[in-house]
């Protein structure tokens, strides 16, 4: 059950964009109202994968700059693959994998 409501007039114009109330209160005091819904953007796979790619680059940045970091050679190869990934035919279906 919604706890937020949009109040309207008879013409459908919004008179109060969002109030907090039980539905019983809204029904008793307002003739025209509807449950408030929060707009959410649609995110494509390409966007979510590019965001994942960015996060991986940030998380491996310290390793790339530290000469004795464990598995550093593979991390450097992995980072190069991450950078090239968005322009490749594997994007966005197949993520690069860090070697061991």
């Amino acid at each position: 059950m919604s706890s937020k409501w949009v109040i309207k007039d008879a013409g459908g114009n919004i008179t109060n964009p969002c109030i907090t109330a039980e539905e019983s209160f809204v029904a008793e005091n307002f003739e025209y109202y509807e449950a408030y819904t929060e707009a959410t953007p649609t995110v494509s796979a390409a966007v979510t994968e590019k965001l994942w790619r960015n996060e991986e680059l940030i998380e491996t940045d310290m390793a790339a700059q530290t000469p004795d970091w464990p598995n550093r050679d593979n991390i450097i190869i992995y980072r190069a693959a991450l950078r090239a990934w968005p322009a490749s035919s594997d994007f966005p279906a197949t993520r690069p994998v860090l070697g061991t």
Partner: protein, 268 residues
Amino acid sequence: MPYAFGAAAGGKTYPQYFITKSQTWVPPEDGNICIHVIGGGGSGAVGSTVYGAGAAGAYGKIASLAVTTAGSFTLVVGSGGTKRWGYNGVIDGVSGGNSTIAGTGITGTLTCGGGEGGIQSSAANAGGGAVSGSANEGWAGFSGGIGVVTGGAVGVYATGAHDTGTDYIGARTDAPIGGILMSRYGTICGGERGGNWASNMNGSATRLAIHGEDLCGGGYAYTSVGVNSFSGNGGIGAGAGGCKGNNYIYLHSGYGGHGIILIQYLPG
């Protein structure tokens, strides 16, 4: 049930009620009350153009009103504007809701408008909520602070403050400090600090700006290299900070602070 906290004076307790959800309120005892009303704050905008902070809701007050247990009041509490998020493009913030009071001994409906949502434009700032309604019962108040980079604040003694481009910290309310739970005997209190900002220099993949304290604006967030960036929520009734960043970074603006109605029984 509204939150009720008693304030003692001269051996008698004078309750006060923090109304956070719309309701019909019947005075539990005869006496004189002070009513404080605050509209909801606007949420921040997201995008790569400017910051676009939310504005604060208006503040209004009836300093003293005689009530009896036979009276009744319709109290409507405006919500804060909900946050916006996205990963590219420009999305303006959402306006806060209006808080209103009406009932026995009050002429018409008295309104404290919600603050506007943040605007992703260098040509305009979000406007603070306005006070409206008959002044017959001594109803008076002030518009909320506008939203610029950081969220606007609720003004109790003058129009609400906004950031002036000097420190970019969320605007502070002019209400006495200590937090709203320190309110007593016709005075409403607020927080001491607006929200601090977050930017690239904070390091890590996620930028988290700080929320505003009660009645104070939220901080802004900016990043060009992170993954997530969150601006700060507004405190009660206050505007949220704007969120700016490059494409392919999740940008989240803050929520506007919810409105509130505070009813205080008065000594004497």
